[in-house]
Symmetry: C2
Subunit: 204 residues, 2 copies
């Protein structure tokens, strides 16, 4: 594990490196730009697996890759939501996803009254824009927030457009090809466990 | 386990018994009212733990208690929701709770534009009705669907009015007395597990 102070400085190096255009950089240069002793910079970077080369310095891309992994920044997962009703809106607005580098890049609906509505930074799009958005952002996960009668039809559209995993909130079983991952979400299980905890408590 | 046909008939007996005022009832009486042979009634009821007494018959209350337990009907758990926004509305409308005998008996908000709005069978009430509804329905569980800035204040109101368990959706830590059960819900964990499943799959 890294000492806390080292971790804080690594975050500074990370920000500097993500804006660096050159291929290699030295500990002297990093130190000068951040007002940190070069010996300290070398000591901090020694905690990483990637080692720099004497006289040449550190490969910016390799350092950045390892720091990205350390901070979980890597490739961010892109998600789209189908169904801009109550649940779809609550999920789109929820700030919790950003912490895990999960980005909601599109929300879709087939109701003309919903299309064009603004939800957070997004605008509700019609279903025929789905393909374009999935391709543009290389979207991997689709979330189903439509009534159960429409769930299978929406799942088919998602699979047809290359979605690899589906988070299904509609209370029904959807059939998808074997290579597509499905997670059926049912928040009632949270309430059930509370109910059981109360019953156990009351019996004592 | 009960044979399927027996289970169906037990449901008929259950409905008949829940309207029966007498203390005891015989298999002949049950059979006559439902058009089922008394031998068949006796055979079906023999699957239960409670046994009737010859000449006296079956104790209606005891039979009903066991059938209630069998069908999970028992005492239904009453729940209220604070925050009639997107999430609160989606939860109130969700049909999944009825299957587990969980009944949402009230939804509250402090925004005048929301008060009076109809959500399913309920009408959004102002916060000062909370005490009355909790007392009237003997409510045990409160659900927090307000922004995180208001979560602690709402938790205090729920605890003051005798709520025993809180289901908290606001992304913040709430402090409650030790005897109150809190479950913090975070649906992002569902999406995170999907993200990890995708990463594992891609690495193969
Ligand atoms: N699993 C859980 O724990 C849980 C909890 C709450 C709600 N739900 C479920 O989530 C779903 C959404 O709930 P809600 O309260 O937001 O409902 P809602 O009616 O507010 O929203 C549904 C939206 O889907 C849109 N829609 C319907 N068919 C469509 C289609 N074919 N293509 C695109 N859009 C379509 C509608 O126009 C509407 O905007 C429901 O199935 C509900 O049962 C699940
Ligand atoms: N944990 C999760 O997985 C998850 C997922 C989605 C949303 N959320 C959270 O759930 C909460 C609700 O989300 P939303 O999208 O429905 O927000 P929303 O803004 O649509 O609804 C919030 C409602 O709370 C009401 N409110 C605010 N302060 C109040 C108070 N003191 N007393 C009574 N009512 C009050 C508002 O008037 C509004 O109607 C937020 O905290 C959000 O971050 C959590």
């Amino acid at each position: 594990m890294f000492p806390k102070a080292t971790l804080e400085r690594l975050k500074l190096y990370h920000r500097l490196l993500s804006e660096e255009e050159k291929e290699y950089i030295s500990s002297e240069e990093i130190g000068e730009r951040l007002g940190i002793l070069p010996e300290q910079v070398r000591k901090d970077l020694s905690y990483l697996e990637y080692k720099g080369k004497p006289k040449v310095g550190y490969n910016v891309k390799k350092l950045l890759e390892e720091l990205n992994k350390l901070f979980g920044i890597g490739k961010s997962t892109k998600v789209i939501i189908v169904g801009a009703g109550n649940l779809g809106t609550a999920i789109t607005n929820y700030p919790g996803f950003a912490n895990y580098n999960i980005e909601i890049v599109g929300i879709f609906d087939n109701d003309p009254n919903k299309i064009g509505k603004r939800i957070g930074d997004l605008v509700v799009l019609p279903m025929d824009y789905l393909e374009r958005v999935i391709k543009k952002f290389n979207v991997e996960i689709g979330v189903i927030c439509v009534p159960k009668e429409s769930a299978q039809e929406v799942a088919n559209i998602l699979v047809k457009n290359g979605i690899k995993a589906i988070w299904n909130f509609a209370p029904t079983f959807i059939k998808v090809p074997e290579e597509v991952i499905v997670r059926n979400e049912d928040i009632t299980s949270g309430l059930l466990s509370l109910k059981h905890m109360l019953e156990v408590k009351d019996q004592r």
